[in-house]
C-alpha cells in the first residue's frame, strides 16, 4: 500500500487544493454579490466568472507541468546524489516537511478567517489596480490574473511542500495521493462554497487536521531517527545495511526499544511503513526519536493553546493587551466584514467596483 499511496502527499495536496478552492469561492461569491445581482448585466457577470475559471485552470495546468518537472528531476538527480548520506538527507527532508505541515496545518481550522483574509487581499488588489491607473486592460483582466496568480502560487507551494514531505517515498507513491488529494480538496472547497462553514465541515476539517499533525509528528521523530542512523552508519562504515533488522543494524547505546521484526524500511516495509508514515513508528527507536516525538506534541499543544488564548483574550499569555487589540474584541471571525448565517462574506469594508 505505501508504495502507491504516500499519505503525507495526500494531505498536503488536499490542504493546498482546499485553500485554492477557498480563494476561488471568495472570488466567485464576491462577483455574485457585486456583479451578479438582478440589477447588473448577466453577460458581464458570466464573462467575469469565466475569466476567473480560466485563470484558475491556466494556473493549475502550469502548476502540474512545473511540479511534475521539478519532482521528476529532483528524483532522478537526487537519488544518485544522496548515496552514502542517504539517512542524513532523509532526515533533513523529513524535518523540513514536518515544519511546513506544522505551520500550515492550523490555518484551515479558521476557515472564515481564511476567507476574510482573501477578501481583503482581492479587494485591495482591485483597489490598487484602480488607483495605479494601470489602464482598462489590466482591470479588465484582473479577474483572470488574480485567480491565475493565486492558483499558480498556491500550486507551486504545494509542489515544494509535497517534495519536502515525500522525498523518501518511491516515485510510484505519487500519482494516486495527488489525484485523490485534488479531488478531496475540490469537493470540500465546493461544499464550503455552497453551504458555508458549517459544523459538519468544521468537524471534517478538525479530523483531517488531526491526521495531518500525527503525520507531522511522525516526520519530526523520523528526522531525528534519520540523523542518528546516519551517525551510526558513519561509525560502522557502511556495513549497517548488511545486517538487516537484527543485532548490529542499530546503535545499542541509544536504543530505547528494538524488535527484529516490523521494520518500516526493510524489504519494502509493508504495513509497517504505513504505520511509520502515519505515526512515525520505528522498530528500532532511539532516545532521540522518542523524546523528539513527545517534544513535538508538547510544542504543538502549547502553540494551539496560545492561539486559543490570544483569540479569547486579545493578547498573548504573559503579555499586556495593547490598546488597539482590546478595542477589536474577539478575533474569531471576519472582523472586516459582516457575515451571513451561513458564514459567507456578504460585504467587505472596502467595496471595490469592478469596471468593465
Amino acid at each position: 500500500m505505501p508504495r502507491v499511496f504516500a499519505v503525507p502527499v495526500f494531505f498536503v495536496v488536499f490542504r493546498e487544493t482546499l485553500e485554492t478552492g477557498i480563494v476561488l469561492s471568495v472570488l466567485l461569491s464576491f462577483l455574485k454579490q457585486t456583479v451578479g445581482g438582478e440589477e447588473n448585466d448577466p453577460k458581464v457577470y458570466k464573462r467575469l466568472v469565466r475569466q476567473v475559471w480560466f485563470g484558475a485552470l491556466a494556473g493549475f495546468f502550469i502548476c502540474l507541468v512545473l511540479g511534475g518537472a521539478f519532482i521528476g528531476t529532483f528524483y532522478s538527480l537526487g537519488k544518485d546524489l544522496w548515496g552514502g548520506s542517504e539517512d542524513l538527507w532523509e532526515g533533513i527532508f523529513c524535518l523540513i516537511a514536518s515544519i511546513i505541515i506544522t505551520i500550515m496545518g492550523a490555518a484551515i481550522l479558521r476557515l472564515s478567517k481564511m476567507q476574510a483574509k482573501w477578501s481583503v487581499k482581492i479587494a485591495a488588489a482591485l483597489e490598487a489596480e484602480k488607483s495605479k491607473g494601470l489602464g482598462a486592460k489590466a482591470r479588465k483582466y484582473a479577474m483572470v490574473l488574480l485567480p491565475f496568480i493565486t492558483v499558480l502560487r498556491e500550486g507551486l507551494e504545494a509542489v515544494v511542500f509535497v517534495g519536502g514531505v515525500s522525498l523518501s517515498e518511491p516515485p510510484s507513491a505519487f500519482p494516486i495521493p495527488v489525484i485523490t488529494g485534488l479531488l478531496a480538496g475540490a469537493a470540500v472547497g465546493w461544499l464550503i462554497y455552497k453551504g458555508g462553514n458549517t459544523i459538519k465541515i468544521q468537524w471534517f476539517l478538525i479530523a483531517s487536521t488531526m491526521v495531518l499533525y500525527l503525520v507531522a509528528a511522525g516526520l519530526f521523530s523520523r528526522a531525528v531517527w534519520g540523523f542518528e542512523t546516519w551517525k551510526y552508519g558513519r561509525l560502522v562504515g557502511g556495513d549497517v545495511a548488511e545486517t538487516g533488522t537484527g543485532p548490529g543494524s542499530y546503535d545499542i547505546r541509544s536504543s530505547v526499544w528494538h524488535v527484529n521484526c516490523c521494520s518500516p524500511v526493510f524489504n519494502g516495509g509493508g504495513g509497517w511503513s504505513v504505520f511509520n508514515a502515519l505515526l512515525g513508528w520505528q522498530n528500532s527507536a532511539t532516545y532521540g526519536s522518542v523524546i523528539s516525538y513527545n517534544c513535538y506534541w508538547i510544542a504543538v499543544s502549547l502553540g494551539f493553546l496560545t492561539m486559543l488564548f490570544h483569540e479569547k483574550r486579545g493578547h498573548y499569555p504573559f503579555m499586556k493587551p495593547s490598546a488597539a487589540s482590546s478595542l477589536e474584541g474577539s478575533d474569531n471571525g471576519a472582523d472586516k466584514g459582516i457575515e451571513s448565517e451561513k458564514g459567507n462574506i456578504l460585504s467587505v469594508t472596502q467595496p471595490a467596483r469592478v469596471e468593465v
Partner: protein, 558 residues
C-alpha cells in the same frame, strides 16, 4: 641453538639430550615486506624468531623472560601433548597465569612425538605481533628417512602493519557489528619476501611447512615440481602426490620434493592467501608471496605463472603410516554449534552453542588440581569457559555444526577422524577445517590426563571467544601432576589466585558468584524502558490531538 644429529643405531633414550633455550621476549622493529617498519616482538633482540629443533625424546627447557614492559605473555607449543606436564602447555588462563612484564617462567617438558610443530604466544591474540616460530622434532625412526637427503623448513604467514592491540580494539567494537576480521597487508615465507632456497640437482628434500599466520590460509605450490605429502600435523602419512596444497592457519604439512636433474633454471614456489574470508579486499593488496628454488645463482629468478584457479589437494586420500583403525562407537558425544552474534556492547562475538569464551579467574588446570572430588563437575570451571569433562581413553564424538558462512580451522589436540562432511574419515590431524554449513563429526580417542582448548585457530575468533575447554581425567591429573613452584610464585607475585573455582572461590566450588562474564545479551523485544517510552508517546499524541480538537471546535459555525 645448534641441533645435534644422532645416528639411528643409538637408542635415543640413552642419548636424549636436554636442549635449553633462554628467551628474552622484547620489542624490536621489523619490516619484512619492505613496506612498513613496525614494532614487533622479538626474542633476544632479534626477529624472525629462532627455529627450535630437537630430537624425539629430548627434554626441552625454555627460560622465558618477559622484557616487553607493557604486555603479558606466555608461550605455547602447538601440537605437543605435554604428557604428564600439562602445566607447561602455555595458554594463559588455562594451564598457567600470564607472565607479567619483568617476570620469568620456565617451561620444562619432554618431547615424545616426531614431526613439524610451532611455538607461539598464547595471551590475548598476541602472536601475530611476531612471537611465533617453528618447532621441529627430528626422528631417528622416521619411516621416510631414507627418502630424502636433507630438510628445509618453510614458514608461511600473513602480516599486519598495525599492532594487535589496536586491531583487536577495532575488531571487537560497536563500530564493527558484523565482526569483519582485519585484512592482512601481505604474506610472508620464512618471515620475509623473495626467499631463495639453494638446492642441488637430483636431490630430494623434505620441506617442512607450517602456517604460522593469524588468519589467512594459503595455497602453496612449487612450479615445475610435484610434492609428496609424508606428514600432516605430526602424523606420518604414506607418500601421496599433490600439486597444490591448502594450508590453514596453524596447520603443518611435510612434503618430499625431488629436484630436477639440470641446473639451468630456477623455479618459483608460491603461497597465496585465501581471500574468501577477507571481508573487503582493499585495492592493491597482493595476496601472494614467492620464493625460489635456486639451482644456480647464475640463473634468473622468474615470476610465477598465474593460476587460472586453485584446485587444492584433498587430504581425504591420505593414509596414515601406522594404519590406525577407525574408531568405533563413541562413549561420549556432544554438539558444538558455531554461531556469531552481537552482545549488548554492540560488538560481534563468536559462540560455541550459546557460550562465548571468557577466561576464568583461576586457570582451569589450577581449578582442577584444587577441587578435590569436585573436579569432575563441570560447573566448577565456570559457565563461560565452556567446559567439557572427558574421561580417560574414551572415544569422544564431537558433532561440529558450522552455522556461520565462514571457513574455520579448528584446533583440537588429538588425531581426529572426520566422519562426515567433505573431509571424510581416515586421516588424522589436529586441524580439521570446517567447511561452511556442513556437519563435521570428529571422533577422537582421549589419552593422558590434561586440560586443553578446542578452538578456532583464526586469531580473531579466539579473541571473540570461539573456544571450548576440554578437561580430561581431572582426578588422574590430581594424582599425577603438580604445578611447579616457579609457576605458582609467578601467579602470586601478580596477586592472582592459584586455587579455587572459576570465580576464585576456594570454599564452595559450586558458587560461581563473581566469575568473569562476557557482556550481557541484547534484550529481545520490548524492555520496561521501551514500553514506558511507547506509552508516553501515545499519551502525548492524544493530548495534542485533544488540543487541536478544542481549537478547531472554537472556530466552528461562526
Amino acid at each position: 641453538m645448534r641441533s645435534l644429529i644422532f645416528f639411528a643405531w643409538f637408542p635415543l633414550s640413552i642419548l636424549a639430550a636436554t636442549k635449553t633455550y633462554d628467551f628474552n621476549v622484547g620489542w624490536t622493529t621489523a619490516n619484512p615486506d619492505g613496506l612498513f617498519d613496525r614494532r614487533t616482538m622479538g626474542i633476544n633482540g632479534k626477529w624472525p624468531l629462532p627455529t627450535i629443533e630437537v630430537d624425539k625424546g629430548d627434554r626441552v627447557v625454555v627460560n622465558l623472560y618477559n622484557g616487553l614492559g607493557d604486555q603479558n605473555t606466555s608461550l605455547h607449543f602447538h601440537g605437543l601433548f605435554q604428557n604428564g606436564t600439562n602445566a607447561m602447555d602455555g595458554p594463559a588462563g588455562v594451564t598457567q597465569c600470564p607472565v607479567a612484564p619483568g617476570q620469568s617462567i620456565v617451561y620444562d617438558f619432554v618431547v615424545d612425538q616426531p614431526g613439524t610443530y610451532w611455538y607461539h604466544a598464547h595471551v590475548k591474540g598476541q602472536y601475530p605481533d611476531g612471537l611465533r616460530g617453528a618447532f621441529i622434532v627430528h626422528d631417528a625412526a622416521d619411516p621416510h628417512k631414507d627418502l630424502y637427503d636433507s630438510e628445509i623448513v618453510l614458514t608461511f604467514s600473513d602480516w599486519y602493519h598495525e599492532q594487535m592491540s589496536v586491531l583487536i580494539s577495532e575488531f571487537v567494537s560497536i563500530a564493527n557489528p558484523t565482526g569483519a576480521e582485519p585484512v592482512p597487508q601481505c604474506a610472508l615465507i620464512n618471515d620475509s619476501r623473495d626467499v631463495k632456497i639453494n638446492v642441488e640437482a637430483g636431490k630430494t628434500y623434505l620441506f617442512r611447512m607450517v602456517n604460522i599466520g593469524a588468519f589467512a590460509a594459503q595455497y602453496i605450490w612449487f612450479e615445475g615440481h610435484t610434492m609428496r605429502v609424508v606428514e600432516v600435523d605430526g602424523v606420518y602419512t604414506k607418500p601421496t602426490e599433490a600439486s597444490l596444497i591448502y594450508l590453514t592457519a596453524a596447520q603443518r604439512v611435510s612434503v618430499l620434493i625431488t629436484m630436477r636433474n639440470d641446473t639451468s633454471a630456477n623455479f618459483p614456489f608460491s603461497g597465496s592467501m585465501d581471500e574468501d574470508l577477507f571481508d573487503a579486499v582493499p585495492p592493491g593488496l597482493n595476496p601472494n608471496v614467492t620464493g625460489w628454488l635456486v639451482y644456480s645463482d647464475k640463473n634468473e629468478n622468474p615470476q610465477p605463472a598465474e593460476l587460472a584457479e586453485f584446485d587444492p589437494f584433498d587430504d581425504f586420500v591420505l593414509e596414515p603410516v601406522d594404519e590406525q583403525e577407525l574408531l568405533q562407537a563413541p562413549d561420549y558425544s556432544f554438539n558444538l554449534d558455531v554461531v556469531m552474534d552481537n552482545l549488548a556492547d554492540g560488538a560481534n562475538y563468536a559462540f560455541f552453542n550459546d557460550i562465548t569464551y571468557v577466561k576464568p579467574k583461576v586457570p582451569t588446570l589450577y581449578t582442577a588440581l584444587s577441587a578435590g572430588d569436585m573436579a569432575t563437575n563441570p560447573i566448577i570451571y565456570g559457565h563461560n569457559t565452556n567446559p567439557f569433562v572427558l574421561k580417560h581413553n574414551e572415544v569422544v564424538e564431537i558433532v561440529l555444526n558450522n552455522l556461520d558462512p565462514g571457513k574455520h580451522p579448528f584446533h583440537l589436540l588429538y588425531r581426529s577422524e572426520e566422519e562426515a562432511g567433505i573431509y571424510n574419515a581416515s586421516i588424522a590431524h589436529d586441524m580439521p577445517r570446517i567447511p561452511m554449513r556442513r556437519d563435521v563429526v570428529l571422533a577422537l580417542l582421549t589419552g593422558s590426563e590434561r586440560i586443553w582448548l578446542f578452538h578456532c585457530h583464526l586469531e580473531w575468533h579466539m579473541v571473540s571467544g570461539l573456544t571450548a575447554t576440554m578437561i580430561e581425567a581431572p582426578l588422574e591429573l590430581q594424582k599425577t601432576q603438580k604445578i611447579p613452584e616457579g609457576h605458582l610464585d609467578q601467579c602470586k607475585a601478580q596477586g592472582l589466585p592459584t586455587e579455587g573455582n572459576a570465580a576464585g572461590n576456594t570454599v564452595n566450588f559450586l558458587d560461581l558468584a563473581g566469575e568473569n562474564k562476557p557482556p550481557p545479551r541484547l534484550p529481545a523485544g520490548f524492555t520496561t524502558r521501551g514500553i514506558v517510552a511507547l506509552v508516553f508517546s501515545v499519551i502525548s499524541a492524544l493530548v495534542g490531538l485533544a488540543v487541536i480538537g478544542w481549537y478547531g471546535a472554537a472556530g466552528a459555525g461562526k
